[in-house]
Symmetry: C3
Subunit: 418 residues, 3 copies
């Protein structure tokens, strides 16, 4: 069988697997795009276009959406080499009738804009996207005070995002919001625990299946005692509590039996004039050793870990290889392009128990991105399965598909109990 | 010639090369397994099984070996994607008559246990393993007070392991052991030098061909003066002497003409409830620049260097490229899986003089692991030689085999003078 | 079409692209080699030969060039596995009539030495090398007080190298040289600015198209105020001014509209007894986050960035992906061997706008090295284009060649305005 045929067979079989997408930023009240502007306003396009020279003028809130789309498309011939461009082409082909093999040119912007408007306006568009993407469920990213109302939590799975609680408790607004959702006025460790408990009750009663947080490269979790909480809250404006609040949240993940997704490595606002959501970067000098105490202290909490840099993947592989509660999770952001996915996936597959590998998540803001992103992942997965298992004779094609299915779906079901 | 045929030819030719294994933990008084429990009790299996969910109950010393083997095999379908599982399958096939192409299932545990008991009980089993592995010599890891008696040092080559001397001299037990083997009561720099000299005499008279040590990521060697040794020994309980004791050992490596194997990067006991030997990890934030003074001060000492993380491989390549006394050595532990070996080997081969590349060592605790581990390495080596040299027309097949042989055998002979 | 045919087609098409080499150490008054000693005296050969055991005796200035060449060639069978050896073989074949397929042996040294002497003595040798390499222009590395006279700046493009100004202003000799070229006696911030302005005028009037600097791993640029300059200059012997002088140079790059090449990561004189230019290494623990303030403060300065370690490539990719003024530049020194180029190039191509990718530069000291180094790069580029774009159906062969041409030539023209 020719090499490509094998990869095609595997990819084709894997594309039949119904998806449970374990991390996204989908708004369940507005899950699909309403216009092409929702697609091309995604930071992957605005930041690449801007990086390639596009002024930010048309990115203003009040700019005309059609003009903005024209402008972003006009710059595409400067970044049509990228994986992110590939996602857009997939969307245009799969959802907007853009012909296979045709080159995208600036003149296409208007036609695609109009087709998108019509297509996305169909009353069953959301259902169509679910069907065309073979999407079964998608995890959300919910602020701690999200009412979690008005959507089907069997399809849109709530996930408690805790960045604000951990890193912005020094902002009066965060504390007001916490008091509003929990009914507790936080002034010391005990009241903070109570407030957090109420948040966890609210989320788990509404079908939450995970807790999540993104963390800077220099973060060290630490257990704080009540005196320290009291001191900082009473006399230091709730400053510098992040390590200890994080620790309390881990305790509630244990008590409420929620996996705790750690997304490690992001430095916020490095490029301060960058486009919206295109300002964050990282520092490769970070280590999972910073989480040593956490992983030891919470053997009963499952930690699906995403690392922002591919260089840290070996630390993630090694930790997942010996710690039962550490699991590699997806391919995040700056590591979500083919060369990094290929490398990191291969490293994980050959050294971490297969039952612990959460293959992928979309991180999408609009449902239309689930299909192209998973499509990219499945192509790479098919290649890796072919090269590392089928061709060397370690697995049959059928068994390789089963292994791929485990990464795509089975482990998500088992780890998050969905 | 089809691509695969070339790789097969190379692999087949390389598999004829008699091996000199430059680093292992073989006990020369009990070099082969006595039961399947000796094979599956290897930390690579206990830690993967535990990481995949196996309770540690049956890992207790007094647990029934057959039950333990059953349990570890029962969990294999959770980690049968790993390279480590592949080694076991190779052992089962090569030594225990397990049929090619058959899938391993829990029910096989008992049959394999019985076959192993019978096979390993053969009086010439050790010789059989040597022959089937084409193994000529294997280096040991000997504690500094090992009597080095009762085995053939031409086959089992002693290697002075110095971790305890460097890192645990503050333990009274280490000092008692040092006094017992050297006849010297250490109380200052001078007596420490005398004691170490006696240890080196003991080892070199008994055929030792290398000195070795494993080092944490933050280690900096340093030359201590006698006043500092005196001070620390007399008033601070032999604390914090590691950099200076290490330096003295390097001096004796120079005087006794022993290569000094540095195994860089391990943090001990990170996962404190991990299985036996499955508790250590690393911190990617380390640099060979920490060894700058050492490499400059000892131009006559050969330093075969192993790095625990693949990210540090480029530092190793660059240091080996300009320092005559720095050599890349094997693929260690968390970097001993196919993706890391492939990457690190390719990087080394294209930039470091071939006469300096010590290709591989088994790190094995039982001789049965030499064959599958070297088998994995040779497959990768054959691929790399094919892709980087034969297919681009840089080397003929014959010359590629010669290059591979150099990595597998010639350099070990020349560097360690065996 | 067979896989290799596609790669050959691409490589062959790319080899027709006229080169503009954006970074070299060519001496425009002596751009080509005069003897084989000029070729093999290149640090890549002396350091590999020395690293493989060659004594440094024949590297002395007054040693006989023919003897030196013999010695370096004699050691080649210890490092003929390296990419660097491959460059020499290319030179021998392309310029010295060495037959394809023949093995190089020590006895060839004399014959090649004689052929080289004769070949390089041809009056039009420089023009021949330009033609055979399809070289159009090559950037120089000029000390700040270079008179920039006696050569054609359309062919040899001046580039202001600022290492001495930034890192050695505490040396009286540097300040004397600065006074001599600028006519300004530096004693505070104002006079330093004036002196630097004169240097920039001198360079831009003489056709300079870039400013450049190499930086240690721990470097942080910083803006110094005039009081700080005054203090350090008057009372501390011009010590510790590097971050601030660097910042001033960035200001003049902005004012004089010169791209500022940053070559990040080198530690000088790590191996203090190393061969000439073979003493420098690096520390992988560095981050582009150190340049955050710089990249934000100078949106109008283009920073083509080279990183010394492949591990830092992801930081470079991510910064180039969001910062309009950060561009990945070539494959530098210890990262200029095939495995690193392949990895780093693939990572860049799939995530950074193609108009920002400066594919390669030779870093050569003699023009004869442009051809083999670019040859190596084009082979890898052809493979990457085939694997990532043509075979998956994303680009036609013609479009892939256009993409490659952009990296090889178009972007150099646009970024440096040559």
């Amino acid at each position: 069988m020719p090499a490509d045929q094998l990869v095609q067979n595997l990819e084709s079989a894997l594309s039949m697997v119904p998806l449970i997408d374990a991390h996204s930023h989908i708004d369940p009240l507005s899950p699909v795009s309403k216009s092409l502007d929702d697609i091309l306003g995604y930071h992957y396009y605005t930041e690449l276009a801007h990086s390639a020279g596009m002024p930010q003028t048309l990115l203003a809130k009040d700019a005309d959406p059609r003009d903005r789309v024209r402008e972003i498309v006009r710059f595409m011939d400067r970044y049509d080499n990228t994986a992110q461009y590939g996602w857009f082409l997939d969307i245009a082909r799969a959802f907007l009738g853009f012909e296979d093999g045709r080159k995208l040119v600036p003149a296409d912007a208007d036609r695609l804009f109009d087709v998108a408007a019509k297509t996305f306006a169909q009353p069953d568009w959301e259902a169509q996207v679910f069907a065309k993407s073979r999407l079964e469920k998608v995890f959300l990213t919910n602020e701690f005070d999200d009412p979690l109302k008005g959507f089907d939590t069997a399809k849109y799975v709530p996930c408690l995002r805790t960045d604000a609680l951990v890193f912005h408790l020094d902002r009066p607004d965060t504390r007001r919001r916490l008091e509003a959702i929990s009914g507790v006025h936080v002034r010391d460790g005990a009241t903070l625990r109570m407030a957090l408990a109420r948040v966890f009750v609210h989320f788990t009663r509404n079908g939450a299946k995970a807790c999540a947080i993104s963390l800077p490269p220099n973060f060290h979790p630490a257990k704080f005692d009540d005196e320290h909480f009291y001191e900082q809250m009473q006399f230091h404006g709730f400053q510098d509590l992040a390590p200890g609040v994080f620790w309390l949240i881990a305790e509630y993940c244990r008590d409420f039996k929620l996996p705790f997704d750690l997304m490690i490595g992001v430095n916020r606002r490095v490029y301060d004039k960058g486009v919206y959501q295109g300002q964050d970067l990282f520092d490769q000098r970070t280590s999972l050793v910073q989480y040593k105490d956490l992983f030891n202290a919470f053997p009963d909490v499952t930690f699906p870990v995403s690392v922002l840099t591919s260089a840290q993947n070996q630390e993630l592989v090694a930790h997942s290889w010996i710690f039962p509660n550490v699991l590699p999770n997806g391919h995040w952001w700056y590591s979500n392009t083919p060369p990094y996915i290929r490398k990191d996936l291969t490293e994980r597959l050959t050294a971490v128990p297969k039952t612990k590998l959460i293959g992928y998540y979309s991180d999408a803001y609009k449902l239309e991105f689930v299909k192209p992103k998973y499509g990219m992942y499945r192509r790479i997965l098919a290649h890796v399965l072919a090269d590392e298992y089928v061709r060397p004779g370690a697995l049959s094609e059928t068994d390789a598909v089963a292994l791929g299915t485990r990464l795509l779906r089975d482990n998500v079901k088992e780890v998050f109990k969905v």
